[in-house]
Amino acid sequence: MDLPHHGYRSTKQRTRGGPPSSDSVLFDDTSATAPMNSQGYYTPSGYSVDGPSADLQGGPGANNLFTDPVASAAMMYGSSLANQGKDMVNKEISRFMSVNKLKYFFAVDTKYVVKKLMILMFPYTHQDWEVRYHRDSPLTPRQDVNAPDLYIPTMAFITYILLAGIALGIQKRFSPEVLGLCASTALVWIIIEVLVMLLSLYLLTVHSDLSTFDLVAYSGYKYVGMIFTVLSGLLFGNDGYFVALAWSSCALMFFIVRSLKMKIIPSSDSTMGMGGAKPQLRLYITVATAVFQPIIIYWLTSHLVR
């Protein structure tokens, strides 16, 4: 397909000072379109596929959208406006939450997700629960299986909403409003739990390095257990539901206690005065968080399986 390239080269030569005489017979068809091409400099590369048809048909009628200088100028203006808008939105969002911190939580890969899901469902054989650091900053989830991430909670949340829709549809209680209600209920419970955790950590002056996103991640891990529970409730009836509820509650409680113990309770061997709160208060927080999980799992799934 030589014609598009020749067309492009002919426009370039035309701006420099006209084509050689041997080409003028071949490219008289594009002469009507060429001056309009040379103004929008990106249009020749943009529609080189249209080049042959335009050359064959000859005439400005075939490509009036891009060769119209006003339209091409408007397109360039629109794209620059869109870029400006995107920069402004990024600037405003980064004032409220740092996007880099959020990117850390989504730096996952398949191996990490598989291992983490297995740990969530069967945490009893996992030995080392320390979050590894690399020069004072925590390692990304790709390199450390103990690091919290936000990918699994987000996906589990969405899967839970879809499963709730399926479960309600099986019981012929489905309507689109119910789906939105279920989604916002689950979201509100996450927000309440994170706020209560933050409040209790602040009031008891527990100086830990748990950020808000860490707490969101840890409270989002229960959705994996919820999905498992709802699935077995749908497949195996009421008995399967209670068995899966007991299993995932125990696994999740174990997981939460072991994970938060590393962060909240100092593992060093100095006794009191380390960070400002008595060790038993920290233990109470950890255990209370763990006990809260099965309650929420039961609350949010029982109406789906009845």
């Binding site: 509100v188 419970w189 009031l203 002056t205 709160a277």
Partner: protein
């Protein structure tokens, strides 16, 4: 319980209003929760009571003006839309 996001916003506004109307000298000092009782220990362990008093005082200071605006908006919206 079926929560909606609107319920959450309502709850937040109600709770913040409740904390903001605790009067300093008529109420908090009478029950021993005044400002001067909050800055007790100077160690690195302020204790639960000092943290709670700190929280109440800071909520009252920070949220006074935004609460005025949010409450006015709520009043207007509830009058218009019931």
């Amino acid at each position: 319980m079926a929560f909606t996001l609107y319920t959450l916003i309502q709850t937040a506004i109600l709770c913040t209003n409740a904390v903001a109307v605790l009067h300093e000298e008529r109420f908090l000092s009478k029950i021993g929760w005044g400002v001067e009782q909050g800055v007790g220990g100077f160690g690195d362990d302020p204790g639960v009571k000092a943290q709670v008093l700190n929280l109440i005082r800071s909520v009252r200071t920070v949220m006074r003006v935004p609460l005025i605006m949010v409450n006015s908006v709520c009043i207007v919206l509830l009058l218009l839309f019931g």
